[in-house]
């Protein structure tokens, strides 16, 4: 069948090495002057309009450091100098560690580690083929798929563990660590849940000190456009930053409803939210590892509903990345996440096929997110394998072309001569192994190529059945279970 597993003497499958998109051929889509103008607009918004921080501790920290806090409205205005000096404390690079150190991500511009899409709420059940609400077991399965795919650098909770209502975010952590050796990025909200999450990450890392040195966990906090932070998100961000866990702020402005109807305006709203969050953490915990992310969407002008893809969605693949780098912090770029209700359709590729190339060329350190359809809500088992194919096209196209005496093959060309053929050449035998990277659409049966969608489905089934990565040590598994029980008691 369609997969290969490296056999080991151990009773588990080896996780194949990561294959991030690396390119030395970066494109700067925005000019310096444009980046300055965008940054200046963000500073202006932060200084004159402000951002709402509905969280007492945050307001105190910000007020203590010279931000202008209005206790009645909870709106904070940021003097420019305060923003600039706080941002200067944020590290440009850091490591996001993995359960297995071979899969640590050393963040650097120009190497892009992709992850799963998130956070879906429905799955197409691989056994029945019917749609149903997502469960923890679905995430556990998909974490194994993510572990198997070299294109996936780190794991996201791609669908919600809805069968564990109030502790779903913690059960997602449990599902990920038990099914992948890669770094896990969660979306944990609230002070108490964040403390449980830190405990879980500490168990996996081994100790608080190790967790700080090699954070096996990172957390993503979503702000509320326009220009507001979330109380539970702020609580969590402060807990995580204190523990040395990298925290990303993500803004999802929707053009026309929660943001201006122009891309640049939406990026300003998003940037102001993200930067205000990062400033808070840098003031509270100077040097805390952080990253920056803006993912824009659109309001359908006829219905007001949320649409992920417009014709200019590619702009959102590069502009926020360049804005983050202009601030001097790592970026989490946004790719994939088609609006197509089904996987494997023309639209499901047309929406997203440009994304990994444009994203890769901009050089974000982290990128979301493969594997969901219907605007990040629905997981088809084959979806991630189809998205992976698009990723591979971008990755190969951005690799440096191998040009040397061996690949130029002038002696072979001379020996074949005009009108000959290369089939009998030793050089052909040697290089043909690499000349055709066989994708889903080049799976042969009886001399004919099979339907790539069917191949993807089979591949998904094969990985589910066969890829079982190195398990977490039993004692750590038990400890995570114990923490989950405590969390259930505490959080309900």
């Amino acid at each position: 069948m369609t997969g290969t597993i490296e056999t080991t003497t151990e009773a588990f499958s080896r996780t194949p090495p990561l294959e991030p998109i690396r390119t030395s051929r970066r494109v700067r889509f925005l000019e310096d002057e444009q980046l300055d103008r965008l940054q200046d607009a963000t500073l202006h918004v932060l200084e004159t309009v402000g951002v709402r921080f509905p969280n007492q501790r945050s307001l105190e920290i910000l007020g203590d450091h010279g931000a202008q806090v209005d206790p009645a409205t909870q709106i904070v205005k940021f003097p420019r100098d305060l923003v600039m000096s706080a941002m200067a404390k944020a590290p440009r690079t850091f490591t996001m560690a993995a359960r297995n150190p071979d899969f640590d991500l050393d963040l650097e511009e120009g190497t892009s580690y992709f992850t799963l899409d998130g956070c879906g709420v429905a799955v197409i059940d691989p056994d029945t083929g019917l749609e149903r609400a997502s469960r923890k077991e679905d995430l556990a399965r998909q974490a194994r798929v993510a572990d198997y795919l070299p294109s996936i650098g780190f794991v996201w909770a791609t669908i919600s563990a809805q069968d564990h209502v109030r502790t779903s975010q913690l059960h997602e952590i449990d599902a990920a660590y038990n099914n992948s050796v890669k770094h896990f990025q969660g979306m944990v909200m609230g002070d108490e849940a964040a403390r449980f999450a830190v405990e879980m990450a500490t168990v996996v890392a081994g100790s608080r000190e190790t967790l700080r040195e090699r954070p096996v966990f990172s957390n993503l906090i979503c702000s509320i456009a326009p220009l507001a932070q979330d109380h539970a998100g702020l609580e969590s961000a402060l807990v995580m930053a204190e523990a040395g866990i990298p925290v990303g702020f993500l803004s999802m402005p929707t053009l026309g409803t929660t943001a201006p109807s122009t891309s640049a305006g939406a990026f300003i709203v998003g940037d102001a939210e993200v930067i205000s969050g990062i400033v808070l953490l840098q003031l509270a915990y100077p040097g805390a590892p952080v990253f920056h992310s803006i993912m824009k969407a659109h309001a359908d002008p006829r219905t007001g509903t949320y649409v992920g893809y417009s014709l200019d969605s590619g702009v959102a693949r590069y502009a926020p990345v360049e804005m983050a780098h202009h601030w001097g912090v790592p970026s989490m770029g946004a790719c994939f996440g088609t609006d197509s209700p089904s996987a494997g359709t023309w639209l499901s590729a047309a929406d997203i096929a440009l994304d990994p190339l444009l994203g890769g060329l901009a050089g974000p350190e982290l990128v979301t997110g493969m594997g969901l359809s219907r605007t990040y809500t629905l997981m088809y088992p084959e979806g991630i394998f189809l998205d992976n194919e698009l990723y591979e096209r971008a990755r190969y196209s951005l690799m440096a072309l191998d040009i040397n005496d061996e690949t130029l093959a002038l002696d072979v060309i001379a020996s074949v001569g005009p009108g000959g053929h290369y089939l009998a050449e030793e050089h052909t035998r040697k290089h043909m192994r690499y000349a055709l990277k066989r994708g889903l659409e080049h799976d042969l049966v009886s001399g004919r190529y099979r339907d790539p969608i069917e191949v993807a489905r089979e591949k998904a089934a094969w990985v589910r059945a066969n890829h079982h990565p190195e398990p977490l040590e039993a004692v750590k598994q038990a400890e995570l279970t114990r923490i989950l029980e405590a969390a259930r008691a505490a959080l309900g």
Partner: protein, 484 residues
Amino acid sequence: MAPVTPALAPIRSARRLRLLDDGQLADLRAATLEILATIGVHVPSARVLGLYEEHGARVDHAGGIVRFPPELVLAAMARAPRTYTLGGRTPDFDLLLDGSAFYVGTDGCGIRVMDPVTGAVRPSTVADVADMARVADALPALGFYWPIVSAGDHPATAPVHELLASYSNTVKHVQSETVVDPVMARHAVEMARVIGGSDEAVRARPPLSSLICAISPLAQDAEALEAALVFAAAGVPVGIMSMANCGTTGPAAIAGSLAQGDAEIIAALVLVQLVHPGAPVFHSMMPGVMDPRTGGYVSTSISGEVAYAAGVEIAHHWGVPTLAGVFGTDAPEPGWQVAAESAVNLTLCGLLGAETGSGMGLLDACTVLHREQIVLDADLHERVRVNLAGLDTSPGALAVDVIREVGPRGHFLYQPHTREGMRRMRFSSVAGRRAPDGSPVPPLEVARAEVARLLRDHHPEPLDDAQAVELGRIVAAADRRLGA
């Protein structure tokens, strides 16, 4: 009343990408020159061999091989113009090839058509060429027209029937990829003269260009080279294409196939420049990869796509425009695979500053026409065009005043800025459509309906009567002469 052909919407990239560095381009150039100097190219025509020899190439008459001193190659290529214009039937559709715009045309030359009504595949006819010329005329994404399928109902003189059907149904520039012998080329030049109005007009704004394919490895077709010289003499731009296939007709490593393909192209372009110095030419590298299990041709593999982009840079390194290979997927029918195999390469060629590319509308490795595919391809083209145009950071787009007005936790729905901006928001023309009952309409169905609408409603400015009569006379003469 004939609707006006909408203005062209080529890809204009705000930024440029270089995939190959100077050292790599120099290595490729050196390899090409070495192949041309020491291995040579097979030319099975005493007359053409004589022309090469007359201008300083080393000719082995017995073997039919031409070898080129590097300085001869460099001097000849130095005469080729870097920029020139491809004329439309009307000047509004002229294509200035100066690197500021990437014009994509139709694909060609298919031989079968999927009937949208019966679902059956049938051989293509001149009526299909005419129909698709009208569809291409209506789509701003199409910069020029390749007769998309063969006029299979006119087997002996298909190329001139294809040109007649094209000129009669689009005001856009026409590029022929099927006129490959000198007799047909003379008829084609006559037709171009009718469209242009005079010999001088054809030279200034050639309404026709031509594409000639080399035979890998390292061979030329005698008739095709003669045709190229007929075109060049008339000022009709000539492109030479190599389709070296990694593993069968080219080395199994991409770099070797690029060097060999380049040598094939340059050998023919040098001939054109030696005989007609300064003639407008272009360079087209479209290498495939062999499937090692079947020996079959794979045009759009994960690992082979970069060769098309590299071809663009090689052309520019020689100082000539390129015809890039875009679209032309191996997918057997419309669907996921088509978009998956088309987007990356189109984006790369746009970023690299390709001047022209082909092409949209065919499937199954450029052999089968599914009419609706051209609308889907045009939608993908539009996505690339909009995204490569860059980000508007003007004060109106930054909208800081509007952000201040709304403030934290507000919404933008009531803002006049929103009303204006929502009108300018661009969504896919085929995605997100809903039927009256609210159910989603698949893009394929939207595209099918759009083709039907265009065929019913879009009738571009016709040829004037005298031109129509004259073109008909030329085609009739070709039919008589060539025994149709």
